[in-house]
């Protein structure tokens, strides 16, 4: 019955984990049946052709997709990834198969209404296949043809009140952890900041003006649930400056075994009775905790806010109240020069909605201006800062130099002094020198 035989893929229908093959087959069937009598705007059998081309790859071990041409919607430089099959005769349903990146709401909370609207749109005008979600955070609509692009964009903006996401040398779709929506560790409102900056920088998001891609991610605490420190050119991680709040009664309840440590995260194995010294005091990376006479004491000046004690005893310990975020710069995957984590640019900045996050925007724009001026084509900011030095970035961002920006001072004495820093400047005459020193 199926259009293509897929013996290899069929083997992926067994096993407990949800099978994307079974799912695609169900979509193929649904489109074949077409119970709603839709006038599919792209080939109805594209899910079957997708399985077909995938089966071919499974058997010959090579991809069958070609580079995308430049496709997109008018006035935007991103949001669509063009894609063509290299065996269009065999798989006409996916001969053209572009993806559309749809901006997801911060924190990825949804109403079924919104999702159903997306489904209706995509069933009619696309393959009916999606990624929920792409690795950057977008809703990724997988496979449509060029003539549908403007239609989809029109419906998205007019009917779903939603825009495309980023691609190309743009700001990419920012993403946030769920933060204050449902997490007691949130030091700032990661979703609101994400939303605000996304709106503020719509132009940068849609119209390529950068040397290369640029990503924002927002983690409301150092746990890093949206992986900002590893995956965004500017990472905003929540933190605090004052003291961890301690509830000694709850500490006692943990010690007494009334509350499971780490919210029960280790319940699947018998790890023995909770041992506050072994599991909390000894594991504090800065040895800032002591436990004596049934009291837990934290030397907050020495605490590096790693979250371990709080994660382990969430009912007894709470983050501080003087909260804000750290900004790190330059994270990226290894292409070209090796992987980078974000490097701490701003140890602490207030996240202040009242002035529309002006202080944060100043940093962002300082960084961008510099990168647009200095960055080479296809050079991520992480590479630019490696090439031109951290201090140059800090200066551009208007951020003061701070020992916290480094893990340790330089190992080499190769300091690039400037003429104006050196008494007497650099102008000297060889004749004067030779008066003191014969050849």
């Amino acid at each position: 019955m199926a259009k293509h035989k897929t013996p290899l893929l069929d083997q992926l229908e067994s096993g407990p984990w949800p099978s994307f093959v079974s799912d695609i087959k169900q979509e193929a069937e649904s489109r074949a049946k077409n119970e709603k009598g839709l006038d599919y705007q792209i080939p109805a059998d594209c899910p079957e052709d997708l399985l077909g081309v995938l089966e071919l790859s499974f058997s010959d071990g090579e991809t069958h997709w070609k580079h995308g041409g430049i496709v997109g919607v008018f006035g935007y430089g991103g949001g669509v990834i063009g894609r063509y099959c290299d065996q269009p005769e065999q798989f006409p349903g996916v001969a053209h198969f572009h993806t559309i990146r749809v901006a997801q709401p911060a924190g990825k909370f949804y109403t079924t209404k919104f999702l159903r609207d997306i489904c209706d749109l995509w069933e009619l005008r696309g393959s009916g296949l999606t990624n929920m979600h792409g690795a950057t955070g977008d809703i990724v609509l997988l496979g449509t043809q060029t003539p549908q692009l403007e239609e989809i964009f029109f419906e998205l903006t007019h009917n779903l009140n939603n825009d495309l996401g980023g691609s190309g040398s743009n700001l990419r779709t920012p993403a946030a952890c769920m933060g204050k929506s449902r997490c007691e560790y949130a030091c700032y409102d990661s979703q609101e900041l994400c939303y605000n900056l996304t709106q503020e920088y719509q132009d940068e998001l849609h119209r390529p003006a950068f040397p290369y891609k640029f990503k924002f991610k927002f983690d409301a605490c150092p746990n890093g649930c949206v992986a900002a420190i590893a995956r965004s050119d500017l990472s905003f991680l929540g933190t605090w400056r004052d003291n961890i709040r301690v509830d000694q009664e709850a500490v006692a309840a943990y010690v007494g075994g009334e509350i499971a440590p780490n919210a029960g995260a280790h319940a699947g194995r018998d790890w023995g009775k909770f041992d506050i010294v072994k599991e909390v005091v000894d594991l504090c990376p800065s040895k800032a905790i002591s436990y004596e006479d049934g009291k837990l004491a934290i030397n907050d000046k020495e605490c590096v806010r790693c979250m371990h004690c709080i994660n382990t005893m969430p009912r007894a310990l709470r983050i501080g109240e003087d909260t804000g975020c750290s900004i790190l710069c330059g994270a990226k995957a290894p292409i070209l020069d090796g992987p980078q984590m974000g490097s701490l640019l701003v140890p602490f900045i207030e996240v202040n909605k009242d002035d529309d996050y002006q202080a944060i925007k100043d940093v962002v724009e300082g960084v961008w201006d510099w990168w647009m001026e200095e960055g080479k084509n296809r050079e991520r900011i992480g590479e630019t800062m490696k090439r031109l030095g951290f201090a140059a970035l800090a200066k551009a961002a208007g951020v003061p130099i701070d020992a916290r920006q480094v893990q340790e001072p330089r190992h080499n004495p190769y300091i690039f002094w400037k003429a104006e820093e050196v008494e007497g400047g650099w102008e000297r005459s060889i004749d004067d020198f030779r008066k003191r020193h014969q050849r």
């Binding site: 949800p18 979509e27 499974f58 911060a106 999606t130 239609e151 992986a227 995260a265 699947g268």
Partner: protein
């Protein structure tokens, strides 16, 4: 097929055009208890695998049931998810940063019932539709990429390797019996869209043959200077070649300088790398993202190559489960995989995981390679 217009007028693209509106504000989508207690959460508990309870200052509680997905999902599947959310959760739900679905309820009993219900839903061929789990000290869903489903540069498939892996470690998804969370990621080429550079376990597609050069077409399809500039090792240079008596402007590649990153191919379709025998998988381990106890860390390559063996990549899943087992036995409570390996020493890691250490695992890329070599006499026998 008749073209159905959305209302868009190609003659007047700017007519009625709405642009730059971004996503909707997230508060449009918040479940009422979530909205009410926004920013006022007090603590949480994992009641059982896959069920979280969050308690607010107000005393309100919300119960979250988390279940896995294949990420690559169809509108039929999403509609089924919506049906469930409508029936159990007043039409609200969310996706996590690792592509799990979270259903939020206000009643603990109903949450547990939902978990049962979800665990009972299967595709006709037998796989679960909504396996509940992914919380606490276990394996959760895999962040991954396009693979052979949609990209032009992959060295392996994404959805297939992920399905094979999740089947193999399924117990670790539903239970919470590991020392700490283990985050697995997958990327199908060195671009690493799956950001596998900082995962406890990373599956990475790699090429091992230098690009083939399509001399006759290259100059038409590519900007030669961009292809040349793209190569991080300077292996590509402009060149002229005679094919069938005609001279073509093209490039030449110093093959011994190539490390198969595919950057030139990204810039130039006439330099394909894909090859059945050349392509396969490297495994990396020991990365992390959180700042908990130890600093964020990069993943390290521990198996340089495993051939593509679809549909189930058994050699790959075998190594992954071996690593997970060794970690599970050896690590301390709360200790992430990389911290365990660092504590026992990587020489010991290879021993307890029964992996071979080869010269390919010694960094030789640029100056920072030096920092991964051993500059001490401290090591273990």
């Amino acid at each position: 097929m008749a073209f159905i217009s959305s209302g868009y007028n190609p003659e007047k693209p700017m007519e009625n055009r709405i642009t730059d509106i971004g996503p909707q504000h997230f508060t449009e989508f918040l479940q009422p208890v979530i909205k009410k207690n926004f920013g006022k959460w007090l603590y949480h508990e994992i009641l059982e695998p896959g069920i979280l309870k969050h308690v607010a200052e107000s005393g309100d509680a919300v119960y979250t049931v988390r279940c896995g997905t294949a990420r690559l999902m169809t509108v039929s599947h999403i509609r089924e998810i919506c049906d469930i959310a409508d029936e159990w959760c007043d039409g609200y739900l969310r996706f996590t940063t690792r592509n799990n679905i979270e259903f939020m309820l206000e009643d603990e009993g109903k949450a547990k019932d939902l978990k049962k219900f979800l665990n009972s839903q299967k595709f006709p061929a037998g796989s679960l539709k909504f396996p509940v789990g992914g919380t606490g000290a276990g394996v959760t869903n895999i962040v991954h990429t396009q693979g052979w489903v949609h990209c032009h540069t992959p060295a392996t498939d994404a959805s297939g390797t992920v399905k094979a892996t999740m089947d193999a470690v399924f117990d670790q998804f539903t239970d919470m019996k590991l020392p700490a969370p283990v985050r697995i990621s997958m990327a199908c080429c060195l671009n690493m869209c799956g950001a596998v550079h900082c995962s406890d376990i990373a599956i990475l597609g790699i090429h091992r043959k230098p690009p083939i050069i399509d001399h006759k077409y290259l100059d038409n399809l590519c900007e030669i200077p961009l292809a040349v500039a793209a190569c991080p090792t300077g292996a590509v240079r402009p060149s002229k070649v005679e094919v069938d008596g005609e001279t073509y402007k093209t490039v030449a590649i110093k093959e011994e300088r190539c490390m198969f990153c595919g950057n030139c191919y990204t810039m130039c379709p006439s330099l394909p790398l894909a090859d059945k025998e050349g392509d396969g998988i490297a495994l990396m381990v020991g990365g992390k993202v959180s700042n908990r106890m130890s600093k964020p860390a990069f993943s390290k390559v521990v198996v340089p190559f495993i051939p593509n063996n679809p549909p189930r990549w058994p050699e790959m899943t075998d190594v992954i489960t071996r690593i997970l087992n060794a970690y599970s036995e050896g690590a301390n409570k709360y200790e992430r995989l990389g911290d365990w390996a660092t504590r026992i020493g990587w020489e010991r890691f290879f021993e307890v995981c029964d992996l071979e250490f080869t010269e390919h695992l010694i960094d030789d890329f640029r100056d920072p390679a030096y920092y991964t070599w051993r500059q001490t006499t401290q090591f273990k026998w």
